[in-house]
Amino acid sequence: MSAVIHEAHDDGHHDGPPAGFKRWLYSTNHKDIGTMYLIFALVMLFLGGAMAMLIRVELFMPGLQIVEPDFYNNLVTDHALIMVFGLVMPAAAGMANWMIPMMIGAPDMALPRMNNMSFWLLPAAAILLVSSMAVQFIPGTGVPVNTGWTLYPPLSVQTGLGMDLLIFSVHLLGISSIMASINIVTTILNMRAPGMPLMKMPLFVWAWLFTGLLLIIIMPVLAGGVTMLLFDRHFGTSFFDAAGGGDPVLFQHLFWFFGHPEVYVLLLPSIGVLGLVIPTFSRKPLFGYKPLVFFMGFLFALGLVVWAHHQYTIGMSLGATTYFMIGTILISIPVGLMIFNFIFTMWRGSMTFETPMLFAIAIILMFSFAGVTGVMLAVVPADLQYHDTYFVVAHFHYALIPGAVFGLYAGVFYWLPKWTGHMYNETHGKIFFWWTTLSFNLTFFPQHFSGLAGMPRRIVDYNIQYIEFNQISSIGGILFGLSHLLFLYIIIKTVKGGEKATDKPWEGAQIGTPGLEWTLPSPPPFHSFTTPPQIK
């Protein structure tokens, strides 16, 4: 796919990667860009995780201990943005970059140079995001970004310089993920090897096709919304200012038109990983492959039209709330059916429990739990009580940590042998699994109770009646954070060395899918599938 035109016999020097920093800075190789995406996500995981641990330390006791209220709210804001835009989306994009060309037998991504740009926008965006948090320490820059990741006006119009940096950061992140999505969708649609029709693609590829399309639809709307915010702040417009005839609720609609489908952007790649991991370790083909694809499509469509369930308390009409309630509850049908498909895949399989499989089973259990609290939150009269409490915090962490992050961990352990050519230490992997899963539950399970008892979210202080729940949560949170040091250790150790991985390190990896990635050596050569493979 290289745009460089060279004589046929003169391509010897293209076999290996170029030396030095140019290999990474100018990279158009899908594997190298995938690696950079994954490393970037790992850095962001530790940055966002450190913020979360600071939040949990502050909440260990009521009152103000270590951070000031505005800084606390800034932490809450940036923790969310970093985890969503810095960790989950880049990690999923990194896996897509690495795996999709190999799975569908393409030599590289469809648009390798755009691929390079969409990655290198991310560090720039991250620098802006971090400086949006840092400028508050310079006098005269105003109030820190204390709005929460939803950036609701009028507060977001009144905060200081940090908000402008944040808005530009969101612009860059949006451009980056739109370009990555266009690239991935184009690759999937146009670059498949002969003999790989859409309905034979591995589920991960399907998941990313829907994710990419979703991002292309929703990201521009968020970009438009934050642009209006910028105009309201500096150019005297009144999109969201009631004094000038605008309406702050309009921003909520624009934000959640992006924000709700964003949940599926985070979830779907992990569902795709499950669709490969579970058949592999059950040694059975995926149960109901076609229905699973249709359920993902249903989720894609339904996810776009239920956004206002985040806004039940703004005073919508009865008709509108009823519509959004029914639409939201309907979502549990395709998601529930996906879960059943995965369970039926395991049914009577000869299962083994390597780390990726342990994560997959844990996801099914814990994500279903988030589904149950999700249905509770969808019900309007109940939601009016739960709104903006820790119950919501518990719900979306149960949805996003198992649903998105653990899915990515499963993917990391599943593909690490393929990426590095080394097996990871299975004992270490299992310790990491149990440590992280138990401490995750210890952190977030008590938050259901404090939320139901009325503890509001995004507030630095709390009533003394919530002390016990918060102390359990904080201890769990610290343990959960620390468990990732082991994760880092496992990754570094596997990259450096270890037992040599075979081309197909998992016995059941090719059951039921063409699985072209397993026909390549581990690690795969720098350029793979330069001639389209034959699919049997």
Partner: protein, 207 residues
């Protein structure tokens, strides 16, 4: 695939990319199209209590006063952010019959040392009553300018549509005065420090 596979696949890619860029531009436009559409939706349905600009021919309402019903109208007044105005209704509530024209007044005074132009933004609760609450004259129709220390009474004349559904017995009308000079928002000001806390007796709160 044609005899030049690379060429044809690149054309195919360019076509797909063009299509998707079109979606991106379209959705960016959709975000901005939401602004007028949302406004239109709110004024058609009366959501958000946006009544400004809805003055009907009231003669058809006043011709059929319903003396059997009494609606309590409550008046509420607030200042947005730090607008240094004194702003209150002269009466807190008023019982009216649907179809009756009533006039009430609000008092407003500028306590700042400079002239301020402000706009009153109305809101009606419950919102379902919005389309039945007709103002024939209101200080909210125009921006109000007050010199330093100037105070005045402002008139509001309204009539409630007799078609207001039976279940609504109380309507709250609230106004918020907002400074039209938005550059004065506390963009660069310090937020007040939070001093109170439920455990204020903890020693050495590090703040």
């Amino acid at each position: 695939m044609s005899n030049n596979p690379q060429q044809s696949s690149q054309q195919q890619n360019a076509k797909t990319v063009r299509l998707m860029l079109l979606i991106v531009i379209g959705m960016f436009g959709f975000g901005f199209a939401m602004v007028p559409l949302y406004d239109l939706l709110c004024s058609v349905t009366g959501l958000n209590g946006s009544t400004t600009g809805r003055i009907q021919d009231v003669s058809q309402l006043t011709g059929r006063v319903d003396y059997n019903r009494v609606i309590t109208v409550e008046f509420d007044a607030t200042n947005n952010a730090d607008l240094p105005w004194e702003f209150r209704p002269t009466i807190k509530k008023l019982d009216v019959h649907p179809g009756e024209i009533k006039e009430v007044s609000y008092f407003v005074k500028n306590n700042a040392s400079h002239a301020i132009v402000a706009q009153a933004i109305p809101g009606i609760t419950p919102w379902q009553a919005t389309s039945h609450f007709n103002k024939t004259e209101c200080f909210c129709f125009i921006q109000q300018k007050l010199e330093p220390g100037e105070g005045k009474e402002m008139a509001l004349r309204f009539v409630i549509d007799p078609d207001l559904p039976k279940e609504y017995k109380t309507i709250t009308l609230s106004y918020t005065f907002m400074d039209t000079d938005r550059s004065k928002l506390k963009q660069n000001g310090e937020m007040p420090k939070l001093q109170t806390s439920v455990t204020g007796n903890l020693p050495n709160n590090n703040i």
